[in-house]
Assembly symmetry: C2
Homo-oligomer: 316 residues x 2
């Protein structure tokens, strides 16, 4: 059996898997993403996670990587990965990993490979067209049309930057009125902090301190909702409203059969919020009599790494 | 030489062309769309226009139709063409035209075939991906990806109903905050009338009466702008602002190489307004360092009929 490896490079963790011929996960490992140093330190952590995932299963013949930032797939170079330490410039990630692990490396966009995994193995197996919506720190997207990924000129599916309010809230990207300005966990935390500083009551930051976290993770938002925190409800409602309009807009353009919801917040809030998204989309859908299927990502946290392994098939 | 026919069925006019093997237009004719009667009367006018276009050139071997409404291409049936007289239900348009003209008939969506024509013969010949934006009574769209039309489940490219303002202005479609609610000529006329009823001054309706028109045509908007009418400027500015956000949102999803602007208002206002759209899109584009090319439709008023003739090739 020839094994494939997959590595999902995130801002907080590196998730690695090793899959067999049938694409089932044989081993997996997770390491924290280094917060100091530079790209070579990140590459070292990625190699270590992959070795740990492969332990006892044998060496993969090829490895795929899902990465944030701007990706030159042909050159294997990742640039402007601003959530990673010292990675404002360009780094030859494929070369560094090939050097460390001794096998060919394929690199793709993290959200695109996660979408491909849901399409091929996950929640959208029975469809031929799909929009993946990854609701986390930002709101990323991936597109499959006619059973093939659509990446445009390299920046398709940037659904977080669909405009839902001309001249609206400032987005972490610097623009105004983007869906992500309301729905991204990063923007939600900024707004929560501002409102608490202005005197609003909320358990959000108390939970954050109790749990020793430096920021409002998806789990903290979930706990605050479970404790019926007014501010958490208000900001999540606002996010769902923006997602409803923005995702419906993307569906009005693409007319895909299905929308798959993943990402930290999407997975943590789960089916009740997928249902709320369905309801929030409905008033904006052009073909409202036959809305797309809305599904939660079925591969969960491992989706990105599994999708990265799929990417490695073309090298195996 | 085997000729092809093309008919563009619009709310105000029926435009027919006959093209040769090289797809050059040999003959063309235009008739007003019947405003009374029913679908059979419209089909009669379409057949008459096509015969007039073909006169002196010989009979086409197949004819394509670009139609509004909901289209069942396989059955040749058009439903819910609400801008056409008595066409709320379904009508077998392909059968009626085949009966009248004696050759096979292919039917497609009016905006999609116009986009295909610009892709193959018009302003987007050198590109492989394209968004067509038809700015008229409504705002319609067409998509070409990887040199092939993308129609989704039949309702892709409904860019007029991309949301630019959650809870915003009421759209003629009944929803709120759609791009068309600000940029469609129909919505613009409703707003102009309301503001004039409330006491705003404007030459818009004076020009309309002078020219004996029942509504504010694209030419009337152009004349009012040329006469520096404040209200016309205000409403066209508002439309451009909405188009900037909505078209940029669609580009953030699709990442196409080019956007082609057509439709009555798009063609009448021309290059200065294409440039204004470029400027209005820029602050919303995710990949703002390499915006798509923005081009005016090169085939003008005949684009729809030429695109319809392209559709007929598969029957010839």
């Amino acid at each position: 059996m020839s094994l494939l490896g997959g590595i999902d490079l995130g801002g907080t963790k590196v998730q690695a898997v090793v899959v067999g011929d049938d694409l089932r996960v044989l081993g997996d490992a997770r390491l924290p993403t280094p917060t100091t140093g530079g790209p070579q330190d990140v590459a070292d952590a990625m190699a270590a996670a992959l070795r740990e995932a492969a332990e006892g299963h044998g060496d993969p013949v090829a490895i795929g990587v899902g990465s944030p930032g701007v990706i030159d797939e042909a050159a294997g170079v990742v640039s402007s990965a601003r959530n990673l330490p010292g990675w404002e410039g360009s780094f030859p990630l494929a070369g560094a990993l090939q050097h460390a692990l001794g096998v060919p490396i394929a690199i793709g966009n993290d959200v695109n490979v996660a979408t491909d995994a849901e399409f091929e193995l996950g929640a959208a197996r029975e469809f031929t067209s799909l929009l993946g919506v990854f609701w986390g720190t930002g709101v990323g997207g991936g597109i499959v049309l006619d059973s093939k990924p659509w990446t445009g000129r390299g920046a398709a599916a940037e659904i977080g930057h669909v405009v839902v309010e001309i001249g609206g809230s400032r987005c972490p990207c610097g623009r105004r009125g983007c869906m992500e300005a309301y729905a991204g966990r990063g923007a939600m935390e900024l707004r929560a902090r501002k409102l608490v500083d202005e005197g609003r009551k909320s358990v959000l930051f108390e939970i954050m301190e109790e749990r020793g976290r430096p920021r409002l993770t998806s789990g903290i938002w979930k706990r605050a909702l479970d404790r019926d925190d007014d501010l958490a409800h208000e900001l999540v409602d606002r996010a769902v409203r923006a997602l409803g309009a923005g995702v419906a807009s993307a569906v009005n353009v693409l007319d895909v059969e299905a929308v798959v919801i993943g990402g930290g917040l999407g997975l943590k809030l789960g089916e009740p919020y997928a249902e709320r998204l369905r309801v929030a989309m409905q008033p904006h859908l052009f073909a409202s009599e036959r809305p797309p299927a809305i599904r939660l990502a079925a591969l969960g946290d491992l989706g990105g790494a599994i999708g990265a392994a799929l990417l490695a098939r073309r090298l195996a």
